[in-house]
């Protein structure tokens, strides 16, 4: 066991523990948020057991976990047993494995211990040069969990949920990729830590530089995480529980944790790609030279930003109504993909002619790029708005009239 192995193991334990705790308590936060939006109190009773201490309901996640563990793990008779068991494991494994490539801080300052290499990057796989593609690959594996869960349940509601979900996840992978390619082009690397460093060095977060890319990515990431208004895979009012209708107990918990982890992943990616990761002006500095103060400040800044994005997700949940399925697909293919392509082309041109632009303006700053990018964004936004106007028309379509085979065949 070398020191590197030990350090990697420590990082994995920290990450897993942190993620699971965060997921548990974010569920509580979500319930509080729901209560606040709906003007009620929410879970505030469960505190320390066998006492009367309530602690604002902070014991709720533990109680929820215990409830899930002690529930009967029941598989109905009509399900396909093997795939029914495998599906939640696949989805949770993929959701957790994504975090191997996601930095949860910057670097630690030298520890002054014999044999410990320094500085220690706060990232489980510091040598992975394809971080962004790795994240993308594992998020596409998550579709398997949903499809297999829905299919093996052998139930029409589950199956419809799985079908909708796989169509949605596959469709929104394209705008997701288009949104992040702009960032990758500008940073010139696929490593997430290098993308943060680039933003910290220039002091300009990508959200200012490519607002169109941010918009496309944020919408696609919400859809990939299947959060409202994109939660068609499980739409309770229509599909009972969607693809996890037949699950109960621990198996259901695995699905729910995986869903929450997807949201946390989306928040991590939005913050890292577009909001400068651990960087904040005048507080964290830039570069690999850190003191203990800046190192901890970077971790805290990253955590606070992620919490803010997660809170936004939760607020969006109670703000927007769910899309209808054709609206969802039209949005992916007719709005998000073209906008993503526009962003990609603009970023490619700007990166190519960055130097010429700086020569014309006569200064080595990013202002001209930002200006052009915002002009393009507003233009593309207006065109998209004119071309695909907001449709709230829910009257029955002619498509749903009786099918006339004779006309159809002729």
């Amino acid at each position: 066991m070398t020191f590197e192995t030990i350090i990697t193991l420590i990082k994995i334990f920290l990450l897993l523990g942190g993620l699971m705790t965060a997921a548990a308590y974010l569920v509580l936060v979500e319930r509080w948020m729901a209560a606040w939006v709906q003007d009620r109190k929410g879970p505030n009773r469960v505190g320390i057991p066998l006492t009367k201490i309530k602690l604002f309901g902070l014991g709720q996640p533990l109680a929820d976990g215990l409830k899930f563990i002690f529930k009967e793990d029941f598989a109905p008779k009509h399900v396909d047993k093997a795939l029914f068991r495998i599906a939640p494991i696949v989805i949770l494994t993929a959701a957790i494995a994504i975090f191997a490539a996601i930095p949860f801080g910057s670097v630690l300052p030298p520890l002054e211990i014999e044999g410990v290499p320094d500085p220690i990057p706060l990232l489980v796989t510091p040598n992975l040069d394809v971080g962004m593609v790795y994240v993308f690959a594992l998020s596409s594996i998550a579709v398997y969990g949903v499809i297999l869960g829905g299919w093996s349940s052998n139930n029409k509601y589950s199956f419809l949920g799985a079908l909708r979900s796989s169509a949605q996840l596959i469709s929104y992978e394209i705008p997701l990729g288009l949104g992040l390619i702009g960032v990758v082009l500008f940073a010139g690397t696929l490593r997430l830590d290098a993308i943060i460093s680039q933003q910290a060095d220039s002091g300009v977060w990508n959200v200012f530089l490519q607002p169109l890319g941010f918009f496309v990515f944020a919408v696609a990431a919400t859809a990939e995480a299947a959060r409202l208004p994109f939660d068609l895979p499980e739409a309770e009012q229509e599909l009972i529980g969607g693809y996890h209708t037949e699950y109960s107990g621990m198996m259901l918990l695995l699905f729910l944790i995986a869903e929450f982890l997807h949201m946390i992943t989306a928040a991590f990616l939005i913050v890292i790609l577009f909001f400068g990761g651990w960087h904040f002006w005048g507080l964290t500095g830039a570069g690999d030279e850190v003191t203990w103060f800046t190192a901890i400040a970077r971790i805290v800044v990253l955590a606070v930003k992620i919490l803010l994005v997660v809170l936004t997700f939760m607020l969006v949940r109670w703000t927007w109504p769910r899309f209808r399925f054709d609206q969802l697909m039209a949005m992916a293919w007719k709005v998000m993909v073209p906008l993503g392509l526009v962003n990609l082309i603009v970023m490619a041109v700007l990166v190519e002619y960055q130097q010429d632009l700086a020569d014309i303006v006569g200064a080595e700053s990013l202002w001209p790029l930002i200006l052009i990018s915002w002009i393009v964004t507003i233009g593309a936004w207006i065109i998209a708005g004119l071309y695909a106007p907001l449709s709230t028309d829910n009257t029955p379509r002619p498509m749903s009239m009786p099918f006339d085979a004779e006309t159809e065949l002729n």
């Binding site: 396909d80 690959a137 594992l138 398997y144 596959i170 004779e406």
Partner: protein, 260 residues
């Protein structure tokens, strides 16, 4: 056996080939595959699995040590998973299970790429095959055969010929590569290779190679895909302009108008 002995006397290179464990691996795995392939009866599938395990053992006996024990363990586990998943892909009867096993085989392949240091290839395998193509496949399978089994899935064409051809091909390839590989797989060379591939600018190097030396191939492949896309769109839009519905004999809408 006597026939084999005579043959081996006649040709010494054939004799060494027959003594080589890979020959036995190929032979055993051909029998196992024939037994396990869906061929109209379920007889002998278990026996086939046992013979298959024997073939794997035979193959394991001629593996080269790759360095430290952890390297060995990771590679062998990944290779074993990939092989078993590959066999299961062609021998299972439910198409959904076949697709899932195929996904596992792809994950194993991606893992082997990662072990070798080809990070981009490994991850791209997962994105392209497991993430996009196979999911679409699974989607279609589930829509077409929600029940899982179809009668035409229970019989594969020419199980005997397929198993024999596969065994011969795999045997010849692995013996050739095994012979060649002995020189390349010396530890120093392997280390140097790994260092080169694991360079910091791994993806940049690969991209430069792809869009420099192989530019035309990449562009042609892209154009082909674009042609397919345009073709699919034109087929769909040709159907869209036909009158769609009649309501009491009265023309209502073309498909295009209906979906507007």
């Amino acid at each position: 056996m006597t026939g084999l002995w005579v043959l081996s006397q006649a040709d010494s290179s054939l004799a060494t080939a027959i003594k080589h464990p890979i020959a036995w691996t190929a032979f055993l795995s051909a029998i196992a595959m024939w037994l396990m392939l869906p061929r109209g009866s379920a007889k002998g599938r278990r026996l086939g699995a046992i013979v298959g395990i024997a073939a794997l053992g035979c193959l394991a006996s001629c593996l080269l040590p790759l360095g430290s024990w952890s390297d060995n363990a990771v590679f062998w586990i990944l290779a074993g998973v990939t092989l078993v998943a590959g066999v299961c892909t062609v021998t299972f009867r439910s198409p959904v299970y076949c697709a899932v096993w195929f996904a596992l085989a792809l994950m194993g392949t991606a893992g082997i790429f990662l072990v070798q240091g080809a990070q981009f290839l490994g991850v791209a395998t997962v994105v392209v095959y497991a993430g996009a193509i196979l999911v679409t496949f699974l989607f279609v399978l589930m829509l077409a055969q929600p029940g899982g089994d179809a009668y035409y899935d229970r019989i594969s064409w020419e199980a005997m010929l397929a198993a024999a051809t596969g065994a011969v091909l795999v045997g010849i390839l692995s013996m050739t590569i095994g012979k060649l590989g002995l020189d390349h797989l010396n530890p120093p060379a392997a280390d140097k290779l790994l260092e080169n591939v694991l360079a910091q600018e791994h993806v940049a190097k690969l991209g430069a190679e792809l869009f420099g030396r192989h530019l035309i191939a990449v562009e042609i492949a892209g154009t082909l895909l674009l042609v397919a896309l345009v073709g699919a769109t034109s087929i769909v839009s040709a159907q869209r302009n036909r009158p769609l519905l009649k309501n009491n004999g009265r023309f209502v809408a073309t498909r295009q108008e209906a979906t507007r």
